[in-house]
């Protein structure tokens, strides 16, 4: 350690020494833990219903026998034409968690080996694309998605945020200042917010002509495309992540309009452009969120128990997790009916296991990066494919989990 580093260490210690605990944090932590546990116990109650035959799914326990993928689940309440039963938009339904569905306790022992993932997935520093290509992900680039012959991802900015990283087929990295990019459903176009120019900017795969930049007022953060002609962005005064509203912009630059005033910030949009999920309320005890039909003022339903990150390709389901996660990863993953919020299935990592990235592989299957233990030297990890009735198989080899090393990952959904 040289003199400069020694000075840094001393000054960090000096700065930290001013901080002291004025009260014990144990009691507050226990109360917070109790709230988390209560939610988990509510989820556990569903298992009883499933085991007694009231609900549909199979319950899979650790060390269970191999499972084959069954026919697609039909748990959501379909109407006669097979479409989900919409809720009236005039009165949002507040959903209690786990009103139906079942729980799968994840495990790796005895799972049958299935085909590799059919969506983009990550193995170490390699991005495997759905069309069978392998692209090396440069160090420092996170959340890669295939884009053209290369990839697009995020990289740390020099100002503490995140910038957009484009990597071409030869591995050349180009960094665009601006918030994390959104990619179109067909993977052919990306957009990002350039904070210096105050513009939404676009790029097309293969260098094809992209739409002209759109000048915006305030800071915006792209969330996702609605079809091919418009996109959803969060809007804030200076920081899109402190957004106070959500707007839809026409890609052509032909104008913009506000989405529901109840939507404080959007997080995911369905590929068909019909549904948006996002934040609706800030409470001392946490945040609540809801699903909106894109042109509706009122949410279809809201929840304060889960957070979601992806709609299924057909927009019928939402994939998410408990509102709390811990240092290792998530303990549960849930699939709910996107239009009603009713639980379709719950996947639970038995202690000391955890769930990493999750993604829909199709309309009725999910992939989960599951690790059996966060304890160094004890864990194994694999990408697991599960149907919505809870039966699972491995989609990759089972490998030792290496703390500090990304063994498997899944690309963020467009």
């Amino acid at each position: 350690m040289n003199d400069f580093e020694s000075r840094l260490r001393d000054q960090l210690r000096s700065e930290a020494a001013h901080v002291t605990a004025n009260r014990s944090l144990a009691e507050g932590a226990r109360r917070q833990a109790q709230r988390i546990r209560t939610r988990r116990l509510v989820g556990g109650g569903v298992l009883v219903a499933a085991a007694t035959g009231v609900a549909i799914p199979v319950v899979m326990s650790l060390g269970g026998s191999p499972y084959a993928l069954p026919e697609p689940a039909s748990t959501p309440s379909p109407t006669s034409d097979g479409s989900p039963d919409p809720q009236p938009s005039s009165s949002a339904q507040v959903v209690s968690p786990d009103e139906r569905g079942g729980t799968t306790t994840l495990g790796l022992d005895g799972l049958s080996a299935g085909a590799p993932p059919e969506i983009d997935w990550i193995e170490g520093q390699t991005l495997h694309t759905a069309d069978g290509r392998e692209i090396t992900v440069p160090d420092g680039v996170f959340d890669p998605l295939p884009f053209g012959d290369g990839l697009v991802g995020m990289t740390s900015s020099e100002t503490g945020g995140w910038d957009t990283a484009l990597v071409d087929a030869d591995g050349n990295l180009t960094v665009h200042r601006g918030s994390s990019p959104a990619i179109s459903g067909d993977g052919e176009m990306i957009t990002w917010y350039d904070a210096d120019l105050r513009q939404l900017r676009f790029a097309r795969a293969g260098g094809a002509t992209a739409p002209e930049p759109i000048a915006v007022d305030g800071a915006v953060g792209p969330v996702g495309f609605l079809g091919s002609d418009s996109l959803v962005v969060n809007v804030g005064d200076e920081n899109p992540w402190l957004s106070s509203g959500v707007r839809r912009y026409l890609v052509s630059g032909g104008g913009d309009s506000a989405l529901s005033e109840s939507l404080l910030g959007a997080v995911a949009v369905s590929e068909d452009g019909q549904l948006v999920w996002g934040l609706t309320e800030q409470l001392d005890s946490g945040s609540c969120s809801g699903v909106f039909a894109v042109d509706s003022a009122d949410p279809l339903w809201t929840t304060c128990d889960y957070r979601f990150h992806q709609f299924s390709p057909d927009g019928r389901y939402l994939l998410g997790t408990d509102i709390d996660s811990d240092g290792a990863g998530d303990v549960i993953a849930v699939v709910v009916d996107a239009r009603t919020g009713e639980l379709v299935h719950r996947f639970e990592a038995p202690q000391p296991g955890y769930i990493g990235r999750t993604a829909f592989e199709g309309d009725d299957r999910v992939l989960l990066v599951y690790t059996t233990s966060y304890v160094e030297g004890e864990g194994e990890t694999a990408i697991i494919r599960c149907s919505l009735d809870g039966s699972c198989e491995t989609a990759t080899e089972v490998r030792p989990a290496e703390l500090g090393t990304l063994v498997y990952g899944l690309s963020p959904h467009p």
Binding site: F4, E5, R7, L8, R9, Q11, L12, S14, E15, A16, A17, V19, T20, A21, S24, L25, A26, A29, R30, A33, I36, R37, V48, S61, L62, T103, T105, D139, G140, S156, S157, E158, T159, G160, G161, W162, G221, N234, W241, L242, S243, G265, V267, L279, Q282, S287, S289, R307, D324, D326, G327, A328, P350, Q351, P352, E376, L403, G404, T405, L406
Partner: protein, 176 residues
């Protein structure tokens, strides 16, 4: 639900052990959280979040060494995720009004009498975490990599980049 985990300790034993651990470590964890976040109130939220999750996981964390690693990982990951998660960030940052200098001009409010801390606060989140774990917590590169969930090479590069940034900024102000 069938409990597939180790047998839980009686609540009273667990509570007593938990309180003992919190009492012995909360100041240290608060200081780490403060260096990560740059804000005392946010640091307290971070530590309480971490302890809540630790309490739930108490029976599956095997040793005191594991406890510390577990808490550090939660602190760092939760803090980093606040930068990346839109709604969580909104939830927490509204009350977080650190006196943060303009990132576009890192030296503008820097005063030599303040030492390096104002510059550390302007480092990107992961670089700052790497610096704090390496130079404040005195963790090895491997231990730091485990907590940051990255390779040792990334720890080296993040730390080197951070030190170079701090050194350059400090020298520039010194030479004025």
């Amino acid at each position: 639900m069938e409990d597939l985990t180790v047998a839980a300790k009686p609540r009273s034993d667990r509570d007593a052990e938990f309180e003992e651990y919190v009492s012995a470590n909360q100041t240290r964890h608060l200081r780490t959280a403060y260096l990560l976040s740059g804000d005392r109130h946010l640091a307290e939220d971070l530590v309480q979040d971490a302890y809540a999750k630790l309490y739930l996981a108490w029976n599956r964390v095997h040793s005191r060494e594991s406890l510390d690693a577990y808490v550090r990982r939660i602190l760092v990951n939760e803090h980093t995720s606040w930068h990346r998660r839109a709604w969580r960030r909104r939830e927490t940052v509204v009350d977080d009004v650190p006196e943060r200098p303009n990132p576009a001009n890192p030296q503008q409010e820097f005063d030599l009498r303040d030492g390096l801390w104002p510059l550390v606060r302007q480092l990107p989140a992961r670089q700052r975490a790497a610096v704090i774990l390496r130079y404040y917590e005195d963790l090895t590169e491997r231990e730091t990599a485990e907590i940051l969930k990255c390779s040792i090479g990334t720890v080296k590069s993040q730390t080197s980049r951070a030190i170079a940034t701090l050194r350059a900024a400090y020298q520039e102000v010194s030479e004025r």
